[in-house]
């Protein structure tokens, strides 16, 4: 159990990408609500950000509106905000996880790493499975929509 705290491999999601924009621009896209609202959330979703205080201890309230009208409420607290370097925020609504986004300036490009650490491997699996079920339902709804549209032709 002791090494569980240090070793997060089995309970984290890790992504990285080189983005074709200088760090100042990428930072702006991540930290300003009027920008992040445009790209956050799955396809077909819209977002409402009622609060986003990008500073340590600041709150971030975001509601994702699903295509079927379901609202997904997300509340996070910013833990660390280091200009053009790092943002750490804690998702305090379920599922609990801590996100660390790091920005590395590479000339006109930015290397971004994105790590989400969940409390346990089981929670990550549970969430992933539920998400898979939701995705599945969404795809079914999309298929049905396409099918119905084809019927009307």
């Amino acid at each position: 159990m002791e090494n569980k705290k240090n070793n997060t491999k089995d309970r984290e999601l890790f992504l990285s990408r080189t983005l074709n924009a200088p760090v100042a621009l990428v930072w702006e896209m991540w930290t300003e609500p009027e920008h992040i609202v445009n790209w956050w959330g799955p396809n077909g979703f819209t977002n409402t950000i009622s609060k986003m205080e990008t500073k340590p201890g600041g709150e971030w309230d975001l509601v994702m509106h699903g295509p079927d009208g379901t609202d997904y409420v997300n509340k996070s607290i910013f833990r660390e905000v280091v200009l053009h370097k790092r943002i750490v925020f804690e998702h305090v609504s379920f599922p609990h996880f801590i996100t660390t986004v790091e920005f590395e300036a590479r000339g006109e490009q930015t290397f971004l790493t994105w790590r989400m650490v969940f409390d346990s491997a089981e929670i990550l699996e549970e969430v992933a499975k539920k998400h898979g079920a939701v995705e599945g339902m969404k795809q079914n709804a999309e298929k049905l929509e396409k099918y119905l549209a084809a019927q009307n032709v």
Binding site: A21, L25, N43, K129
Partner: protein
Amino acid sequence: MKARRDVYQAIADPTRRMIINMIASQPHNVNTIAEKFDVSRQAVSLHIQILVDCGLVVVKQQGRERFCEAHLEQLSEVSHWVGQYKKHFEKKLDALETYIEKIKKERNGKQKK
């Protein structure tokens, strides 16, 4: 309500995960497994039974001994879901890339004017 018996239930408990680790490379006798844990033999038997019900373990009788054998194919189901979940965040990065291109174009346009 019927108890949930799937791969997620199987790996939800630390003792069960340790049992799986023990028998993953080679089958173990039930008594040998029970000796490794501080909990009662009955508790270990119950965990083994749950693993059997979840389809991750098969118990085989050999003479007077009972051996636990791991059948771990189902575990890939878990990594499958996690992989799918990860893709969901990859899509966010795709959306970010597209959005960045749009913003860059808008700002370049303004500069030229």
